[in-house]
Symmetry: C2
Subunit: 288 residues, 2 copies
């Protein structure tokens, strides 16, 4: 293994994987090395460009902390996250489609009872989100959990505000015996992904805008069923056809219906206009 | 651009590059996105593996600081650095071959006169490194600069020792009117690349050892000539055929000849055994 050239270098690197103890690791790394080398060859990468790539990746890593995941943002904006998502969730027709997790999920969100307000204390237009969790046959699933989270009316998640503790605008609600859930929140707005880091710069270089259409995140889980990580998008949003992370599916776009002040469907008397949004999640039975 | 699937997602992401202002950037990113997606598809990457990759890249970035470049180490150990090097230095026969820069070069190394000792104060076996910088026709190049650096007798660079200021075991010497240079150092030893970070873990997972054969780094520059970034490797080293960064070329392997105490070729009277190593660097004329 000396005198390696453009021609035989890739084979030499791949040959060194022969003693990798884990077969799956060997398979993945073989593919990574093969495509990394092929990309370098294809574009005849210059040394200055190689160094710019080193500096970019370093800056992406440096931008990550316990509340910011710039590598997930990079994966999202390059469509890699949605590709992984699509390949890992070949859901049957009728099941709720999945979309990206995104970088703002926080484990251990507070438990909420149905009817609670996840946006308590936040300004914005009130919205009552309700729906069911159903089997593929349309039967209700009781005790299903919705782990929901969203940005505020200014397009920022709690973890993006230094004065919040990362437990706002998120929570876990459960379906009742009829498979129904409901909670209050504020109507989400379109927002840009964070652009103050290296991924923001690369979006600019790609000639792309950083906006995501308004949405509410949910991870829906129920014992005996396949979970789904998804969003509900707001109908009419101007970015539905140019989502910065390629996540929009028609089946996830729903109407936020506006209502004048009065009694809301859950009995709450609203003194201001409010919105209702309804969505039924469908979960396939767990794989054997 | 909605309802993207495994089938059409890559095309959708590539299509968004159409308005990238810089054509070269567009070309490079197209290749990066194409190969990133192809790799994910080829191995059917799971979500857990995707997340492990995110965590790995984040850890690589976190390990970088002003004295440690873990992404360069990753590039080196995956053979990417040598591939970029090979493609960018298709040197004519007779010119000194290039090899990796590595992560330990420091700009602004101290100027040294010929005969100086770059390892002054460091334990180890003394070695007198001498040679010429020559044109392709074998004529001497006066005033050529050698920016040299190496690890100490324990295999560590100055920047790896927290008590040093990063200006030891390195320096810039210049050829005299006869195109000749010479300096004292200590005989280098084989050493492992840093294994206390995420790249060390990935080498372990690949079933590879982390060692590099003993070498002295040099960047040789001269006005009117193409520069070369290279090493001189020690003949007989046990790792010449399994360099962790794939950098060894036969033309760069030289003998460290051992001598009993006495007068060295530069007139220095040595009271202990010492080594001599001679290497002539050949530089092609600068491209027009």
């Amino acid at each position: 293994m000396r005198n390696l050239t453009e021609t035989n270098l890739t084979d030499a690197v791949l040959a060194k994987l022969e003693s990798a103890p884990n077969l799956r690791f060997r398979q993945v790394m073989s593919s990574v090395i093969t495509h990394l080398h092929a990309c370098i060859r294809e574009v005849e990468l210059t040394e200055a460009e190689w160094f710019a790539a080193i500096q970019f990746l370093t800056a992406v890593g440096k931008k990550c902390d316990d509340k910011r995941q710039e590598f997930i943002l990079l994966s999202d904006t390059l469509g890699a996250s949605m590709l992984v998502d699509a390949m890992n969730h070949r859901t049957p027709a009728g099941a709720t489609e999945s979309t990206v997790l995104g970088p703002f999920h926080v484990p251990g969100a507070p438990a909420l009872t149905n009817g609670a307000n996840v946006a308590s204390g936040f300004p914005g237009e009130p919205a009552l989100f309700s729906g069911h969790v159903l089997t593929m046959e349309g039967n209700p699933i009781a005790g299903a959990q919705l782990d929901v989270w969203q940005a505020d009316a200014e397009g920022l998640y709690d973890v993006q505000r230094s004065n919040l503790n990362g437990r706002q605008l998120r929570g876990k609600v459960h379906t009742n015996e009829q498979g129904k859930f409901w909670f209050w929140t504020v109507r989400p707005t379109a927002y840009p992904v964070p652009t103050d880091g290296p991924v923001g710069q690369i979006l600019l270089n790609m000639g792309r805008h950083p906006y995501r259409p308004a949405h509410i995140h949910a991870i829906v889980t129920a014992s005996g069923y396949e979970p789904v990580t998804t969003h509900v998008f707001a109908e009419g949003d101007q970015y539905l056809d140019s989502d910065a992370v390629f996540g929009v599916k028609d089946s996830l776009v729903v109407k936020f219906a506006r209502h004048e002040p009065g009694a809301a469907p859950d009995g709450t008397v609203m003194k201001q206009p409010y919105f209702t949004v309804a969505y039924d999640f469908g979960l396939p039975a767990a794989k054997a």
